[in-house]
């Protein structure tokens, strides 16, 4: 089945990052094979919140703030393209988003952070609003009385992450990409003209390789002189039963998804998940939810959902090409949804070019000694 030079590009990883990059490369007309693991693999993409989020991103890293903003701006067109190519409506909405503060101190923290990001943005506009309780309640009706307020950014939006993954897969297929599931990659061997991968289904040859394998990237990257020091950071989500629409915009902790259920979660920074029991996690998430939106109390929880963030040490993406073996890249981030548009429409062109462009440099990972000795 696999013989000399199976494709121009092999992308390792069928999650949001890998599939978006694979779609982007196929869209440019290249032959692409997308290798994926099996059904029970640790799949970060299944646990994603679905935010297309700009607010609060990139503190002390204005290039990341700009990347998030760029991707969010690309998203509407991207969603339209996916609809046209696959017929799937990924449910993208961009009406802004809110951060709900559970305390005055938290609100102050939000404001300080946003102010800082704005000042780091220089001339580039960075709009947001600071809202008191009344102001926030206009956007988030039914807001709990104990909530002091929050912040609003017009750049934020949300999308159905599972639909997105589905549409990317479909689109990849439509653009003649080849998807191979149950095909874990065990080794990458640089060759004279290209790379040979050892996989569960035999050897695969390609001119260029993109490692977008989430946690598995940490093992694969060193094989080609790259370093991808990622670690898993767990989070919990609760999904409720369907309810009539009440929440029109996404927030940092709660959003009402397309089908009507509420998705409730908290960022890992707030809870220190790694030491809590499952029961305590669920209670805390539910507690915060009821505090923010009391009407959620009556809704039944259908399921808890484990979210897995693929975290680099500083939380920012790694987009790197091996210096020792040009043509192999590692691409990893924890915001696979927000950045999906940029990955498909921009980052794919970076990979297809001769060497990563300047825009990618801030994410090169030299900051972690990405190039192994």
């Amino acid at each position: 089945m696999m013989n000399s030079r199976d494709a121009a590009y092999v992308v390792i990883g069928g999650g949001l990052v890998g599939t978006a990059l694979g779609y982007g490369l196929a869209r440019l007309g290249h032959s692409v094979i997308l290798l994926d693991e099996g059904d029970r693999a640790l799949r970060a993409s299944r646990g994603n919140f679905g935010l297309v989020w700009v607010q609060g991103k990139g503190l002390h890293k204005p290039e990341y703030a700009a990347l998030s903003r760029r991707s969010a701006d690309l998203w509407p067109g991207f969603a339209a393209e996916l609809k046209e190519v696959t017929g799937i409506d990924v449910g993208h909405e961009r009406r802004g988003g809110a951060m709900i503060a559970s305390s005055e101190a938290e609100l102050e923290g939000f404001v300080t952070m946003l102010e800082q990001i704005r000042s780091e943005a220089g001339d580039t506009p960075y709009d947001y609003e600071v809202l008191d309780h009344r102001g926030l309640e206009k956007l988030v009706p039914g807001l709990g009385p104990q909530i002091p307020g929050g912040t609003f950014s017009p750049y934020d939006g949300h999308v159905d992450p599972l639909c997105t993954l589905r549409a990317l897969h479909d689109g990849f297929s439509v653009r003649h990409g080849k998807y191979v599931p149950n095909c874990a990659v065990t080794a990458i061997h640089p060759g004279e003209s290209g790379f040979r991968l050892e996989t569960a289904k035999g050897p695969v040859m390609a001119d260029r390789v993109v490692i977008a394998a989430g946690l598995a990237s940490a093992d694969l990257a060193p094989m080609v002189g790259l370093n991808a020091p990622v670690r898993p950071v767990h989070g919990q989500l609760l999904i409720t039963e369907r309810a009539p629409r009440r929440l029109e915009i996404p927030t940092n902790i709660i959003r009402q998804v397309q089908n009507g259920g509420f998705q409730i979660g908290l960022s890992h920074e707030d809870l220190g998940f790694t030491t809590e029991t499952r029961a305590a996690l669920m209670r805390d998430i539910a507690c915060n939810a009821v505090r923010a939106l009391p009407y959620l109390g009556d809704l039944r929880v259908l399921r808890t959902w484990g979210a897995l963030r693929i975290m680099t040490p500083d939380g920012f993406p790694i987009y790197a090409e091996s210096a020792r073996h040009p043509g192999v890249y590692v691409m990893t981030c924890h915001s696979g949804v927000t950045l999906a548009a940029a990955h498909a429409l921009e980052a794919a062109t970076w990979i297809a070019a001769d060497g990563l462009p300047d825009e990618a440099r801030p994410f090169s990972g030299e900051r972690f000694d990405v190039q192994a000795a």
Binding site: G38, D39, G47, D170, Y179, A279
Partner: protein
């Protein structure tokens, strides 16, 4: 209120749960039984406690096996176990803990041993039109009879396979009216396939002759018994109005406003799954079971399974496996030693062997045919909750979704309130069909808590967390979601 650490927490008060409680209490264990129903008996003996109030004809139709349930319930109520009715157990958040919810809210219960005796449910049978009002499980009709003495007041049809189809047909015939037809999927092939198990089955002679007697009774009442049916479909607007099928290539149809379907029962293993128990596919039963040893001990520490939740074997076997798990719990907690446990087990296990003897024959004879497991018609609804049809699942499998979790991600199948109970089998079968695997290799979707409805407010006021050991939950073992 449960505040102490109980020795044995049992989930379910059917024959297995009740027997386990009685045995464990006899050996000095403190036992708590959590039951989502209002009274003990599970499904098989549902409302058996009140059966003495029923009329003679109803008692006769329900039969001595059912009525004997009242004795078991009496013994259970007297054994000293603390019985918590109308209580749902929705998670096993860590070893030695159960998450429960009742009218007082949600809380955690600490226990040394857990026994999952949550019984079974009827095998979902996705056929075209099966979601129409008026299409129900045969078990549903049984439940209506047992709890409210309700019988059909209009012509009805029973279709499928398995002993419960016959039993229900006979009961309803005696109490109300005969079915308009009894449509069975069984064919000569099934008998040939089952004949290998006949020698064992023949030793359960009384059971076999009972079946034949029932058939004769139905025939005497003029019930058309049609075997070898295929392509059964229901149609109607506001409810089922007419059904169609084929037999020997010939199409047939009949009007009906009530269609009772059945093709066996399958273990309700959700709680065992969230407790971390490994499940295995049993090819004979065509169902997933928790992997367990002769005592019901699963792969998850301190968690055992008994009764139909561990594998379908009927009420008598359920009581025996319940008692065995009670013995094992007592041994694990040092009340009796191994020799004593094994000695007491001998008569139970020999009776269990006899009870189980007929199973391979029944499993082989009544194996649901392929078109009842793998809906041939793409328009057949597979996920009732989210209205996902077979065609969508086939398409997703062809796109490369190799397992039920990905199917779920791509189609929403399994994301509704029933959390995959109704669609798990069909999804595994459809993926198996598209990938040329078998359902056991395909597996079932990852089961997550809560396995019973609990509200956000109930979760928010979850009590008893401080009593947990605080061990890391092992949440992401083997899969991120």
């Amino acid at each position: 209120m449960i505040d102490d650490v109980v020795d044995l927490a049992i989930v379910g008060a059917g024959p297995a749960g009740m027997a386990a409680a009685v045995t464990a209490c006899e050996l000095g264990l403190s036992v708590a039984v959590f039951d989502e129903q209002a009274a003990p008996g599970g499904q098989i003996y549902r409302n058996a406690e009140n059966a003495s109030n029923a009329s003679r004809s109803l008692r006769q139709a329900l039969g001595p096996d059912y009525l004997s349930g009242a004795d078991q319930i009496r013994a259970f109520r007297a054994c000293g176990a603390r019985y918590h009715p109308r209580t749902r157990v929705w998670d096993v958040p860590e070893e030695g803990a159960l998450a429960i919810v009742d009218d007082n809210g949600a809380r955690l219960v600490r226990t040394k041993r857990i026994l999952v005796a949550s019984g079974a449910m009827e095998r979902p049978v996705p056929l075209p039109g099966w979601t129409l009002p008026g299409v129900m499980g045969v078990g549903a009709a049984q439940t209506l009879l047992k709890i409210e003495g309700l019988v059909p007041d209009e012509p009805y049809i029973i279709a499928g396979g398995g002993p419960l189809t016959l039993l229900t047909a006979v009961q309803l015939t005696r109490l109300a009216r005969p079915p308009k037809a009894l449509l069975l999927t069984e064919r000569v092939n099934d008998y040939l396939h089952a004949v290998g198990y006949l020698p064992d089955a023949l030793r359960s002679f009384p059971l076999l002759t009972k079946g034949l007697k029932w058939l004769r009774e139905l025939k005497r009442c003029g019930v058309p018994v049609v075997r070898g049916i295929e392509d059964l479909r229901a149609e109607g607007e506001a409810r089922v109005e007419r059904i169609h099928w084929r037999r020997g290539g010939q199409p047939a149809s009949m009007d009906t406003g009530l269609l009772l379907l059945h093709h066996g029962v399958t273990p309700a293993f959700e709680l065992a799954a969230v407790a971390g128990c490994e499940t295995v596919w049993d090819a004979e039963q065509a169902a997933w079971l928790p992997k367990a040893d002769r005592w019901g001990a699963t792969t998850s520490g301190g968690v055992a399974v008994a009764g139909d939740a561990g594998g379908i074997a009927g009420a008598a076997a359920a009581a025996l496996t319940g008692s065995l798990s009670g013995l094992d719990a007592a041994c694990a907690l040092g009340r009796i030693d191994r020799t004593e446990r094994d000695r007491r087990a001998i008569p139970l296990e020999s009776r269990l062997v006899r009870e189980r003897r007929i199973r391979p024959f029944l499993d082989a004879l009544y194996r649901p045919p392929l078109d009842w497991r793998r809906p041939p018609d793409d328009d057949t609804i597979v996920c009732r909750c989210e209205s996902v049809i077979a065609g969508e699942i086939r398409a997703a499998a062809r796109l490369g979704c190799t397992g039920p979790n990905q199917i779920k991600s791509f189609t929403r199948c399994g994301m509704g309130p029933c959390q995959g109970r109704m669609c798990a089998f069909a999804v595994a079968e459809l993926i198996a069909e598209q990938t040329h695997a078998d359902p056991g290799q395909v597996g079932h979707h990852r089961i997550r808590p809560p396995v019973k409805p609990v509200t956000v407010a109930e979760l928010a006021s979850l009590a008893g967390i401080e009593r947990l050991a605080g061990r890391r939950s092992g949440l992401l073992k083997g899969g991120g979601t």
